[in-house]
């Protein structure tokens, strides 16, 4: 996961990277908050589900799917309840928080505020204003705000001022964000745009809060809740740079955390198709000798298909064996094509056995200069045209093919377009 993200960062400007990083950090906070909610809302269910799901048969899955649709409405209601409960809880942290360090408090408050804002946005997106329950949501939200505000005020001791300001600011941001999403978003685009705008606003507001906090410390505790939204913009502008830096730092932290989390997940358990592959290899080695396969593996990316790589000189022998062996009986050629990997050509066959209901991918690497291999059309008539196509577009010669001629392009075409070094031939240039 981390690798992928890092790689995908290459193509982006620093601006975009920062934005992305900020979004990621937020998504994480959101996820955390969600998890907490889920834990509170249904501790029993969450404990049971994973094991239960494993044991479900197809029949049950179907039923489950139907039931799920119905259960969704219920779940939504639950979520709302959970949120109310959460709103009530925001008052509580006052007691527990003094035990935490300032740093932690700040982080926690910010994360919570953000998570809430995002959660709200998400719910609204999902409900798209149509739900009548929207109004109740809003009121509960207001309640939450008031409570949180009260809590913030209570914490107005000099040390906690900065944090209170941050929370209040986040709230303001949430309000601003709420306005955007309150407009009935008619499609994905709008909703996404709204979400983005909100995310950006939240980040800026946070930075602004930090900047303002200093001033507020001198001015007095109550100010943050009274700050009009207009002031926000100025503060935002001032603190924009800071926000970006903070976001970047956060993203780095997030990336580190994620990297740590991803590592254990990378150790996958063996594929369910591993025994099948082992059988293939065993049978092939028994009949054709030890040294006929170049490689064999489970292709994880391709629905765990067992993959055999034949040596150029044993390709036809293995194909023939796969088709005619009584244990294997791959009677169907599902797909056949070639690829130019620049160092070599590769021919890829996807075979299927209707007897055993199993798939196998058979590949062979071909030397690029000679570009010749054996045709498998004598085994599967279905390979006839695909081999012609491969010859036409890649210039791989199939020995033993009944009619190896161009099929897509005119007979007088020069070159093979799917080769990576193909240059269009034009007599007039």
């Amino acid at each position: 996961m981390t690798d992928k993200q890092n790689e995908s960062n290459e193509g982006l400007s620093i601006e975009e990277q920062k934005k992305k990083a900020a979004a990621e950090a937020k998504a994480k906070a959101l996820e955390l908050a969600k998890q907490r909610q889920a834990e509170k809302a249904k501790p029993v269910e969450s404990a049971e589900q994973p094991t239960a799901e494993l044991e479900l048969t197809k029949e049950e899955l179907k039923k489950k799917a139907a039931a799920e649709a119905k259960a969704k409405a219920l779940e939504l209601a639950k979520q709302r309840q959970a949120e109310k409960a959460k709103a009530a809880e925001t008052a509580e942290p006052t007691t527990t928080e003094p035990e935490l360090t300032k740093e932690e408090q700040k982080k926690k408050a910010a994360a919570e505020a953000k998570a809430k804002a995002l959660e709200l946005a998400k719910q609204r997106q999902a409900e798209k204003a149509a739900e009548p329950s929207d109004t109740t949501d809003e009121t509960s939200d207001d309640l939450a705000k008031q409570k949180a505000l009260a809590a913030a005020k209570a914490k107005a001791a000099a040390a906690a001022k900065a944090k209170a300001a941050a929370a209040a600011k986040a709230k303001l941001a949430r309000e601003a964000g709420g306005d955007t999403s309150a407009q009935p978003a008619s499609d994905d685009e709008k909703a996404k745009a709204a979400a983005k705008a909100k995310a950006a606003a939240a980040a800026k507001a946070k930075a602004a809060a930090a900047a303002k906090a200093k001033a507020l410390r001198e001015a007095g505790g109550d100010a943050p809740s009274e700050t009009p939204a207009g002031d926000d913009e100025k503060a935002k502008a001032i603190a924009a740079a800071k926000a970006k830096a903070a976001a970047a730092a956060k993203a780095r932290a997030a990336a580190n955390a994620k990297g740590a989390a991803a590592e254990p997940a990378a150790e996958e358990k063996p594929s369910p198709n591993q025994p099948i592959l082992d059988t293939y290899i065993k049978v092939i080695k028994e009949h054709l000798g030890e040294d006929v396969l170049e490689d064999s593996y489970i292709n994880r990316l391709s629905k765990d298909v067992p993959t055999l790589v034949a040596k150029p000189d044993t390709y036809y022998k293995i194909a023939e064996f796969l088709k005619h062996n009584d244990q294997l009986r791959f009677d169907y050629l599902s797909e056949m094509h070639g690829t130019d990997f620049e160092t070599h050509f590769e021919v890829y066959n996807h075979l299927y056995s209707y007897v055993n209901r199993q798939s196998v991918a058979l590949k062979v690497k071909i030397d690029r200069t000679s570009a010749t291999t054996h045709s498998i059309t004598p085994l599967w008539e279905g390979a006839n045209w695909p081999e012609r196509e491969t010859f036409d577009l890649l210039g791989i010669h199939f020995e033993g093919h009944p009619n190896l001629s161009r099929i897509m392009l005119p007979d007088d075409w020069v070159g093979h377009p799917l080769r990576k070094d193909y240059e269009p031939h034009d007599v007039e240039v």
Binding site: A66, D331, T339
Partner: protein, 366 residues
């Protein structure tokens, strides 16, 4: 006694019964076909070459132009391949929308086949009825994605647009309507003796031949092979639906006709259940990176299109464009058996046999 001699007859590439640009060179003796040589490539647009310079999302519109009678399945196959590589979780609502549009597409495709096939072999009116019903489907698809044929509706991670208000109800109402019309088709055509004489026993092949020639779809199921990827290698959410795979055993054009007509019924069953289970709310797009980069490696997936197995192979270098993209196009594979079927047939059966395979030339030529 009548003396005959061999002659060459060129059919196409511009010929109405080929439903595209397909040429076949026949060597005939009197009215008997001795040899048939299909010539294809008139619609070759080099989709696979073009795709090597395009981002994954940009490739999706190109897939619309392959099998333009059922473009939703084409949309799906490339999204499915990328999603498989990236192990993406697709939101439920998006999956239902995908299944609904794909099954609508399957019905529309079979309707076109039904109408034009009968037109080819001399029945004018079924075409008009079939296109009337197809128009209803096309209108629905137009409403959800803004295009009648080249949909460009699906995206990696979900679908582009949510269903407009009342759309699901329209699909729901369409199911009983279509059932009624389908019964009408059966009254009109299925028992018709002239029709039966034209299709029974024509274009026969065995199960082994079908497998050997890599046939798929109704062309395979007409030989008694119970095989449908929706059931046998379930993708998307097809395992949630209760439907049957129509299988016939005579292996002739008549079996292929029955097969496709019954598939319409089964698709209606799926639609009925999908509409009922359709989630009231939820996102239609998963969280995907803005620039889609499948991990380094290769993947081949196959799904069931109206014409058979459509597959997509992607070799990725972890970049935003595929290193190599290849479509397994069912019409291309299915058409291979044509020369074999034509040998020894009367020339008037040429159209019956060609039409029975149900090809789309855009797909044959890639």
């Amino acid at each position: 006694m009548i003396r005959t001699e061999e002659m060459l007859l060129n059919v196409g590439p511009q010929h109405p019964s080929t439903h595209g640009v397909f040429r076949i060179v026949l060597k005939i003796d009197g009215e008997t076909i001795i040899e048939a040589t299909p010539v294809i490539g008139y619609l070759h647009r080099g989709t696979e070459k073009l795709a090597e310079n395009l981002q994954y999302t940009q490739i999706i519109p190109y897939t619309d132009r392959m099998d333009y009678l059922a473009a939703m399945t084409n949309n799906y196959v490339i999204c499915h391949a990328v999603e498989t590589m990236m192990s993406l979780e697709i939101p439920e609502r998006a999956e239902y929308l995908r299944v609904i549009v794909m099954e609508l597409g399957r019905i529309a495709s079979h309707l076109v086949w039904f109408g034009t096939y009968l037109l080819d072999i001399g029945a004018m009116s079924p075409f008009l009825y079939a296109f009337r019903e197809r128009e209803a489907i096309i209108n629905m698809l137009n409403e959800i994605c803004g295009a009648r044929l080249t949909f460009n509706y699906m995206r990696v991670g979900g679908v582009k647009w949510d269903a407009p208000d009342g759309w699901i109800e329209k699909v729901r109402d369409f199911v009983p309507y279509m059932r009624e019309e389908l019964a009408g088709y059966h009254d009109l055509v299925t028992g018709n003796e002239i029709f039966l004489n034209r299709v029974k026993g024509i274009g026969f092949y065995t199960k082994e031949e079908a497998l050997n020639y890599s046939l798929s779809g109704a062309n395979l199921r007409c030989t008694g092979t119970n095989w449908d990827l929706r059931k046998d290698e379930p993708y998307s959410i097809y395992e949630r639906f209760d439907f049957d795979i129509p299988v016939f055993h005579t292996g002739d054009a008549w079996a292929r006709y029955q097969c496709r007509m019954q598939e319409i019924e089964e698709s209606l069953k799926i639609l009925e259940q999908a509409v009922e289970q359709f989630p009231a709310e939820g996102p239609v797009m998963a969280k995907v990176p803005r620039i889609i980069k499948p991990p380094k490696g290769e993947a081949f997936v196959r799904i069931e299109s109206p014409r058979g197995e459509i597959g997509c192979y992607i070799a990725s270098e972890g970049k935003k464009e595929p290193y190599r993209l290849k479509f397994r196009r069912p019409s291309f594979y299915n058409l291979q058996i044509l020369p074999k079927l034509l040998v020894g047939e009367n020339i008037s059966n040429l159209i019956t046999i060609l039409g029975g395979i149900d090809i789309v030339l855009g797909e044959v030529d890639g």
